[in-house]
C-alpha cells in the first residue's frame, strides 16, 4: 500500500512540475488587413521556450477556414512537438477569407503537456466591404405615414463599381433608382403604396465588380408594427 501511495505522489509531483512549461508568445493576437482580392492571408505567432522544455499536445483551429502549422518542422518534415529551452519557432496560420466581410476573429487552441489552460491564439482579419448600403433596411410603422425613404449605395474602392441591374420583389413598394455618380454613388428612393398591412420587400442590386463576393447586394424594406416600449423584446436577457 505504501508503494502505491508513493507512486501516486510521484506522478502528481511530476505532473505539477510539467505544469510549469513555458511557451512564450510575442503576441496572442495577430491583426491583418486583407485586400478585397485576397483569398487567403497568413498570420504568424512567434514564440520562444523559457525555463522548461515544452511538449505540444495538440493544436486545433476552430474553423475549417483556418489552417495552422508549427514551424520549423523536424528534419524529417514531421511536426516538431518537443521543444527545448532556448529554442524558438512560430505558429503559422493560413486563413481562407473568401467568405468573410468586415471584421472576423478566429482562434487556434494550443495545448501543451502539463499546461493548465490552453493557449489561445487569435487571428483578426479585416476584409473591406467595397459596396455599402446605408441603411440596409428601410422601415415603416404599420399604419403610419407612407413617406418616401432613401437608401444610399456607395462604392468604397479605388476603382468604380457600376450597378448594372436592380430589381424589387414586392409591388407594395415603389422604388426609384438614381445614379448620383456612375460607378461611385447611387440612391434608391422607396415608397410603400400603403402601410395598412405588414410587408417585406427585397431590393437586389447586381454590379460589375470583379470580385464575386461584391457582385450582388441586397436592401430591404419592411412595414411592421411598432414594438410596445413597455414590452421590450427581451425580458429575461442575461445581464451584461
Amino acid at each position: 500500500m505504501k508503494q502505491l501511495l508513493f507512486s501516486v505522489i510521484a506522478v502528481s509531483l511530476f505532473l505539477s512540475h510539467r505544469g510549469q512549461a513555458e511557451m512564450v508568445f510575442e503576441t496572442q493576437l495577430v491583426e491583418i488587413f486583407a485586400s478585397p482580392d485576397d483569398e487567403e492571408v497568413i498570420g504568424e505567432f512567434p514564440f520562444r521556450i523559457e525555463e522548461q522544455e515544452v511538449t505540444i499536445q495538440s493544436y486545433d483551429a476552430k474553423c475549417v477556414c483556418l489552417a495552422a502549422r508549427v514551424e520549423p518542422l523536424n528534419p524529417d518534415r514531421s511536426v516538431k512537438l518537443n521543444w527545448k529551452v532556448g529554442e524558438s519557432g512560430k505558429m503559422m496560420t493560413k486563413f481562407d477569407v473568401t467568405k468573410f466581410l468586415g471584421t472576423v476573429d478566429k482562434a487556434i487552441e494550443l495545448n501543451v503537456v502539463g499546461g493548465k489552460e490552453p493557449i489561445i491564439l487569435t487571428v483578426r482579419v479585416h476584409v473591406p466591404e467595397l459596396i455599402s448600403l446605408t441603411p440596409t433596411n428601410l422601415r415603416w410603422d404599420l399604419g403610419g405615414p407612407a413617406n418616401p425613404q432613401t437608401m444610399k449605395i456607395e462604392v468604397k474602392h479605388q476603382n468604380p463599381i457600376k450597378v448594372t441591374n436592380h430589381r424589387g420583389n414586392n409591388p407594395k413598394f415603389d422604388y426609384q433608382f438614381k445614379t448620383i455618380k456612375e460607378g461611385w454613388e447611387y440612391e434608391v428612393v422607396v415608397t410603400p403604396r400603403d402601410t395598412s398591412a405588414s410587408a417585406l420587400g427585397m431590393l437586389s442590386f447586381t454590379t460589375d465588380c470583379e470580385f464575386p463576393r461584391f457582385k450582388r447586394a441586397m436592401g430591404y424594406a419592411v412595414i411592421r408594427p411598432q414594438r410596445n416600449p413597455s414590452q421590450p423584446a427581451s425580458t429575461t436577457a442575461p445581464k451584461s
Binding site: 500500500m1 508503494q3 502505491l4 507512486s7 476552430k62 474553423c63 475549417v64 477556414c65 467568405k99 468573410f100 466581410l101 468586415g102 472576423v104 476573429d105 478566429k106 482562434a107 487552441e109 441603411p135 440596409t136 433596411n137 428601410l138 422601415r139 398591412a197 405588414s198 410587408a199 417585406l200 427585397m202 463576393r213 450582388r216 447586394a217 441586397m218 430591404y220 419592411v222 411592421r224 414594438r227 423584446a233 427581451s234 429575461t236 436577457a237 442575461p238 445581464k239 451584461s240
Partner: protein, 153 residues
C-alpha cells in the same frame, strides 16, 4: 511488485462497483452544459433561458457548416454561417424573421459547433449590425453551442 498490481486491480474493482452503485442510485451522469446567466458575457444566453421564451418569438440560426445543419439542425432553424455566400443566406434569414408578417421573430439565437468556435459571434455581430433595429429583434449567441442543444433537443 505483485502487491502493487493487486492493489491497482482491487482499487479498479472498487471504483467500478462504486460507479455502478452511483448510477443505480442517482441515475446517469448529467451531461448538460453548465451555464450561469449572471456570469455570461453580453450577448450570450443560456439554453435554459431560451427554453423559457415563447417558441413563436425565437428564430434559431445555425452557424455550422451546411452538412451539419442538414443532419441535425434545430427544427425551423435557418443556416447563416461564415463559409458560404453571405447575401443568399441573409435573404433566407430576413424571410424567416419576417415570416408571413403576422408575428415577427423578436429573439434570434445563434449557435455553432462548440463554445468559442467564433462563427456564431461573427454571424451574430453581422445580423445585429445590419438588421436587428429595423426588423425589431435581439440577437444572442447560445452559450455552449450545439453541445448545449444536443442534450435537450
Amino acid at each position: 511488485m505483485r502487491k502493487v498490481l493487486l492493489s491497482v486491480v482491487w482499487i479498479s474493482l472498487m471504483s467500478v462497483a462504486a460507479a455502478f452503485l452511483t448510477w443505480m442510485l442517482v441515475g446517469p451522469p448529467d451531461r448538460s452544459v453548465p451555464c450561469d446567466a449572471q456570469e455570461l458575457p453580453k450577448g450570450q444566453v443560456c439554453l435554459s433561458t431560451v427554453l423559457e421564451w415563447d417558441p413563436g418569438e425565437v428564430l434559431w440560426v445555425d452557424a455550422r457548416p451546411r452538412d451539419y445543419w442538414r443532419r441535425n439542425g434545430v427544427e425551423g432553424s435557418v443556416l447563416v454561417n461564415d463559409q458560404e455566400e453571405w447575401v443568399s443566406m441573409e435573404e433566407s434569414f430576413v424571410l424567416a424573421v419576417f415570416g408571413d408578417g403576422s408575428q415577427l421573430k423578436t429573439k434570434v439565437v445563434v449557435y455553432c459547433n462548440q463554445a468559442g468556435c467564433g462563427s456564431s459571434e461573427y454571424v451574430a455581430d453581422r445580423l445585429r449590425q445590419k438588421h436587428s433595429e429595423a426588423l425589431g429583434f435581439e440577437v444572442y449567441v447560445l452559450s455552449g453551442g450545439f453541445k448545449a442543444l444536443a442534450n435537450q433537443l
